[in-house]
Amino acid sequence: MSEILTAILVLTGVGLAAGLLLSYFSRVFYVEEDPRIDLVEEALPGANCGACGMAGCRDYAKAVATSQDVPGCPVGGPETAVKIAEIMGSEASEVEKMVALVKCAGTMERTTRRGELVGISDCRSASLIGGNKECRYGCLGYGDCMSVCPVNAIKIYSGNIAVVDPDVCIGCGLCVKACPLGIIDMVPASRTMHVLCSSKDAGAQVKKACQVGCIGCKICSRKDSSFQIEDNLAVFTGTEGNADAPFVCPNDVIVDTRVYSVLSFVESEKAREHFTNAKEKFKTLEREERARIAAEKKAALEKAKNSEKKDDEKIKKSAEKQSRED
């Protein structure tokens, strides 16, 4: 009994002594630091994600407080920038909040597969042997991005496609680095239209591999010049796109996040149905509009012809009149 007691006492004693010593010396050896470092650190998201290039939020705060030229915190976005500017008493540099976007909507049903992969459990290995989809740019769905996400913003749903929840995403960019196919992009959070495809293959090849691939047809860029086509792939670069743009895409690759979330556009059959109906409606309207314009044109043309006839008669009459007077 006494043995246990001495053991407990000694151990507690050593622990207590160490604790007291530490707390005492923390005051003795207190180093005065710029108080703004603590304030800035508090204003930061505190995820220590390293997206800014520093080792952690504390290092970033130190750099800010010593007024080094550092880029804005990409995770905190403009809100944090404003807060930091208040603390530092300077102008906030504009930082746009970025979120990750997986640019693929090729679920299992919509894509052609090369075969079954057995015994592989991560995207990196799968990508080494070319994946199981015909398309080299198709999301493999093993979730390498999901496992590196510090806030669990990425999930793999039934369609075996990784989808980022933009409301949860902090924009650290770790998933972009983790994806062996490079199909995850950082996009401004304010952007409302995305082309959900990364394939740079030629149109015919894309069509063979996937029902929802971008074939680089450039029709969308005619609706909205913010769509830029490079290497057979359209990328939306604006903020708010023309609401009709998704409807003109022949393969339904463009999502308008003002209407559908990326998740529902990729996964939900209902959303797809709704989209198809809307597209149908748009097409009929367009056809009617075109018919109307054509009809108007025809009418105008006839009218012009008629008036020409009248003019001719007038000229004839006046000519006759003159000849008679002569």
Partner: protein, 192 residues
């Protein structure tokens, strides 16, 4: 003479990393550049000497009289952790330059098993105070030697043409193994 042999023994024959396999984590973690390896080595030398001294004193003044030798490990861990904290604070106050130089390595070695390994080993082997000091200092020098050798090798590997499959960690581990083999060759250098 006895201490000279002990010193040679702890640097070459019983090298902490290469023949006792303690402190493998910093060995692989901070050996990418010679400069960081040097910083880490200095921090280890500093902490190892201090930690061994304090734990040695504590063991013979507190644990042994009470017959609590079996509490060795847990007490040592406690003492080493708070000691490193304390040193960090003290250095920050007294010598900011040194604090900047040691930087992140100081808190990192709180959990370095080489520190605890040496502290326990000195007790196990029953060294006296001077023996303990020699063992700790030269153990740390052996650690530094291995770390610097490895960092130098890795710096060269970085620029050499290595087959894809062996790039990075793979070739590093192979090099570590060969280095360890080479150090095994020292055994028998000192009799006993």
């Amino acid at each position: 003479m006895q201490y000279l042999l002990l010193a040679i023994n702890s640097v070459f024959i019983g090298n902490l990393i290469l023949s006792k396999f303690l402190g493998i984590c910093p060995f692989l973690g901070v050996s990418r550049k010679v400069s960081t390896a040097l910083g880490m080595s200095m921090a280890v030398l500093f902490v190892m000497t201090m930690a061994s001294t304090v734990t040695w004193v504590l063991f013979y003044t507190l644990l042994e009289p009470f017959g609590l030798e079996y509490l060795r490990t847990i007490v040592f861990i406690l003492v080493i952790a708070s000691l490193v904290q304390l040193t960090e604070m003290a250095i920050q106050k007294i010598s900011p330059a040194l604090y900047e130089a040691l930087g992140i390595y100081l808190p990192l070695i709180t959990t370095n098993c080489a520190i605890l390994g040496v502290a326990i080993d000195t007790i196990e082997k029953g060294y006296n105070f001077v023996g303990m000091l020699v063992y700790a200092v030269f153990g740390a020098i052996g650690f530094a030697l291995a770390l610097l050798l490895f960092a130098g090798l890795r710096e060269r590997l970085e620029t050499s043409d290595v087959p894809d499959a062996f790039k990075g960690a793979a070739s590093s581990l192979i090099v570590a193994g060969i280095l360890s083999l080479a150090f095994m060759g020292f055994s028998g250098l000192v009799p006993g």
